[in-house]
Amino acid sequence: MKNGTAQQLVISGVGGQGVLFLTRLLAEAAMDKGLAVFTSETHGMAQRGGTVISHLKVGDFTSPMIRPGCADGLLVLKEENLDLHAGYGRAGAWAVVNSRHPVPSRQGDCPLEVATVDAFGLAREVASPRSSNLVVLGRAITICRDMFCGPDDIVRVLERRLAGDEQRLHKAVTAFRAGMKAQQ
């Protein structure tokens, strides 16, 4: 993990895409590893298709929110949100963007290394459209070398969260693995 202490991630999308689910998944993965974790989430009216953002901070923090210029990585479930939330990234941060076509890395004020994945397309192909959030996570966990948790940790949390719903669990894990294998 970065400096052995802390990681800050932004998860961005629109209501209904599963931003909260991803946030919870990552928070539980952190707790499983005995790491302190903070999140800040969007609930309420924005969940009806509005812009939604979660902050996830793993390590020794007191505030649940990420300051602009401090995030190590961004998971962007809706491409249009990259412009809105790129400013959270620190210099050299990564972003995984759900997009059908390549998105150039960003220079200037908030430089970001951008990777893309056609999460809707892949999710529809291997699981169901609703699993696109996990495709993005799969891609992120592959490109981010110093993520606080690994693929097995994520699968373990999924197995626990979706215990008793074999079909949904299978789809979730399949979508996650498809994201890990994706190359773009």
């Binding site: 999140t39 609930h43 959270y88």
Partner: protein, 597 residues
Amino acid sequence: MLGNEAIARGLVEAGCAVATAYPGTPSSEILPAVARFRADEKLGGHVQWAVNEKVAFEIAYAASISGLRAAVSMKQVGLNVASDPLMSAAYMGAKGGFLVISADDPGPHSSQTEQDSRLMAMMAKIPVLDPASPLQAKQMVAAGFRLSEEFSIPVLLRPTTRVCHSRQDIELSVPAPCELNPDYRKDPLRWAATPKFRFKLHGELEDKLARIAGWEATRPVQLNRARGGSLAVVASGVAAAHAAEIFKALGLWENLPLYQVLQPYPLHTDFCRKILESCESVLVLEETTGVIEMQLASRGQVRGKLSGDVPSVGEILPEDIEQIVAGFAGVKVAARRIQQAPGRRPTLCAGCPHRAAFFAIKKAAPKGVYPSDIGCYTLGLNLGAVDTVLCMGAAVSQAAGFHHALKNRAKQPPIVATIGDSTFFHSGIAPLVDSVVQKVPFVLVILDNSTTAMTGNQPTAASGWGVNGESLARVDLAAVVKGCGVGFCRQADPYAIKEFAALLKEALAYCRDHGPAVVISKRPCLLDLRRRGGNWEPKQVVVTEACDGCGFCVTQFECPALVLAEGDKQVVLDTMVCTGCGVCVEVCPKKALEVVG
């Protein structure tokens, strides 16, 4: 654990016997978590959703009078509804520990106002605790009960959105044994005090407050060990959490004292005195009003909202605090701000029955006046079918008000008000009775989706089940309407737009001579239906060659599944979003949307 779950866990661990609430963002997750934890721990007691915050408050308060620990939770505007019992309960005091949890929403993210519940505590003259994190919120529940019992006073716990909807790793403790044996004793001089005795109770209340302003357990704490110079920073709530992190990032942790106020009202008397004596300048960081700042009554020495150093509108984001603290301490820091772009506006879900109802309303009363109310259906704004949104229940009284204001126009506009089922039970009944008495000609459409949808699909009075899924009695919505004296009350499925619009016209004709007519738009929330495993057979809709890209469906029906991108010649159906309700087929004026298969 979510902040709201941490509060719930705190309630259960502290032996809270009765918990009540009305849902409202950001407070809604507290009560279900209380019910869940109690069931897990096989504890007794009573947990319930009430029809509104006033009712919830009074139920819980009676438990406190009976010697049991009790709590009521709501959002900040809910406390307005419960303010009547709150003001009196402050005088009479509590017996069993009594916590009023009012979640504020600086921003506002999902509220009508940014009001500060701590001001309400000041007005009622009760102490208020202001947590900085989920963990602290849980600890403050226990402290709040102790404070309440030691001074026989209701205590307000005021978390904000960033506490309620933060998640933090929290260790659980074993719940204390929950005292369920009441100690109810008649004491009418106190519990039914007449004005003469209220005067005496007021005197006692002032005395309690003076002592609470010296209570050890809620005294402000210094978060760092910096030795005092001429400057100090005082923060409360999540602003204190942001400040601690920012102090470290700016290298101020070792040399600028940072205090956290746990109890913003009444502010500890000796803390006020000492800090004003020892510091030349004090910066106060708090949300949303300058409650602490007001009590540090030395305007020349204190910087905050009143002095203009801290914005008095919106939440104070960590990046704001970074700039303010750096300026106060005289250190340099680069300005880094996220431009607050509007982003994507929220919209009614694809397949939402409200959308169909709104479309039919515009069809039946195209030049109408449309008062509406608080809930998902506020988003009828996007369709141009909502003119006003004031507060819970106001759609009904405002409809009456608009009639009286506009009745002398040469051509009276039709008035069609919309209100959700849960909001109707909450605050719509009294104004409906009033409009019957006054024979106000308007149509009230009750959007009955059988749930409190916006806040996360809590049950309504008509659901027949409670917070933990337990079976309860079911109140018949139509019977209530008729019981209010309404002569025209009919129910229909809004998905059948033509028939629904025809019924609305019938209702409009009736109301002109007879007073209010009610149409119940009956169709379950699709999100709720799916979550509860209800029966749903989607239709497959396609866009045919007949589509000329006129955009009528996009602007007038505003379904997120129908997309007309700039430059596109035809509407595209987003099959990921489409729920297959098939209502748009009736909407398209070119008959270019068809159901296949």
